[in-house]
Subunit: 323 residues, 2 copies
Amino acid sequence: MLFTKTPTDRVSQLGEIALISKIGKWLGEVSPDSPHGMGDDCAVLPASNRKQLLTTDVLTYGQHFDDSVAPQDAGAKLIKRNLSDIAAMGGTPESAVLALLCGPDVCLTWLEQFFEGIRQSCETYGVQIVGGDVSSLPPGQFCAVLTLTGTVDTSKLRNTAKIGDRLYVTGSLGGSILKKHYAFTPRIEEGQWLANKTECSAMMDITDGLAKDLQALLPDTASAALMLDHIPISETAISYAKTTGRSALEHAFCDGEDYELLFALSATADPEAFEAQWRAHFPELKLSRIGQICERSPKGPYLDATTNEALPWTHGFEHLKSE
Amino acid sequence: MLFTKTPTDRVSQLGEIALISKIGKWLGEVSPDSPHGMGDDCAVLPASNRKQLLTTDVLTYGQHFDDSVAPQDAGAKLIKRNLSDIAAMGGTPESAVLALLCGPDVCLTWLEQFFEGIRQSCETYGVQIVGGDVSSLPPGQFCAVLTLTGTVDTSKLRNTAKIGDRLYVTGSLGGSILKKHYAFTPRIEEGQWLANKTECSAMMDITDGLAKDLQALLPDTASAALMLDHIPISETAISYAKTTGRSALEHAFCDGEDYELLFALSATADPEAFEAQWRAHFPELKLSRIGQICERSPKGPYLDATTNEALPWTHGFEHLKSE
């Protein structure tokens, strides 16, 4: 468990210096020596002739994971959430700094396993943890903030799609709360491949649900005509729907934490040819053409492409809002 | 006050999107548009032929500031803490990302003033806030994590001093808890000037007290012989000592959050000539030669240079440790 009453296994029995030293050991080769890594006032990273990417994400106990998630999976999630942002720009991940906020009762055994998940993900994706900070929270609380850098030559943005462009999503959507919210694969290679395609006109990752995130990809004067039978509903969304009384399609639209790529293909591109290229490169990852960007409809941002009627789902997951 | 019971002034009445939009307005020109700033999955920063610096620091209510600190000062402190780390490497600050962790009862009026302090500090030191994340904490809690990037040609590290090198500190030490912990000036220009001096053999900033931080500057096989009458005791430390029953010298050694530079001057350099150069460049910032690195003494890390006896202060501020 994340918190413990056993005095010798509590983070508060270590000082900051001892904890940072332990973290360095837990991370192993993923934590290089100073000056490229921990141990000085800043990490010193080599110059690069590529553009730099910078992103930060929070992982909070009770919000982004709970006691049902193994500590290794929670640690991996912290890294992969940020990796998904780098993937969405078509970038290559590089170095990260980690701020750790711990209640005094955070369990050292749990924390070691959390860092095991961090280490494994960093090894898999070539990330190095080069610095950080530790600070305290009241008992019963835990929060980690990872800031990840990356590099990119040609990045894809969210706001560059045009009317007429086709809309695509990778993988399948919905029901992530049951497992995928931590057991997902950031789409790094796919993002890099798409970033090099001039016909990919805009890209982002889906973190707060298709219903919320797709609005960020649409030009201000546009709606999206969506083919409902092309929305890739996950098996989990179908199972989950049986317990919630909501439709699996609604879950695919509105659930958060899919960590799939959402992108637009230029209206002038040949979608069949593009899809054939995709299948040749990524035979194991499903790609779904879910619709097309159209002139703004007074009916709303999303239309059923078959009936031309407005879809009812326009909101995904909203952080903070509680009143 | 940081927290409020007035429903319309609570952060929870806004969603994440509305809050991020407000933050963008509060930051004004310090928050550039996407892709260099907020609004996409990552910020995209231009390539640079200089080495990159990366540092992260946490600012927590109840730990790094309390209700006696004005919100503008708390916001400025968040930026300046990180700037002090960039200064300690001799770097130039560039871009930052900000993670905000808010209880639902955080007051929007307070938060606007907090961001006013952030904006002013960013303008003063040429920092841009290019992205971030918001997340929730239980009521009564507030925490901000800033990750700051910088660039540098020749950086100064902590662990490169040698036996025989002289030890220097800028400004004066101790008693920061009374005001200086937020009302300090990061030593950016001084750090850059020192980074270009080959005779400066190592550098860091003093954040956890001279007693703790100086140990990081000493080689493993060394102690420091300190001239106690050269330790720059602040006026505040003298006032504070009258209320604590501890000596002003002890406060100068052991109090945290001085945010001054601590550096070593090569044994082969002429200290008087170096000090004359300092005075010519920085006439308003006191520089104190506090001692010299010597062979490791069995008596301890710090010796009184006059008596050759061990000094009793070897610990500064330790985060987390509470049991």
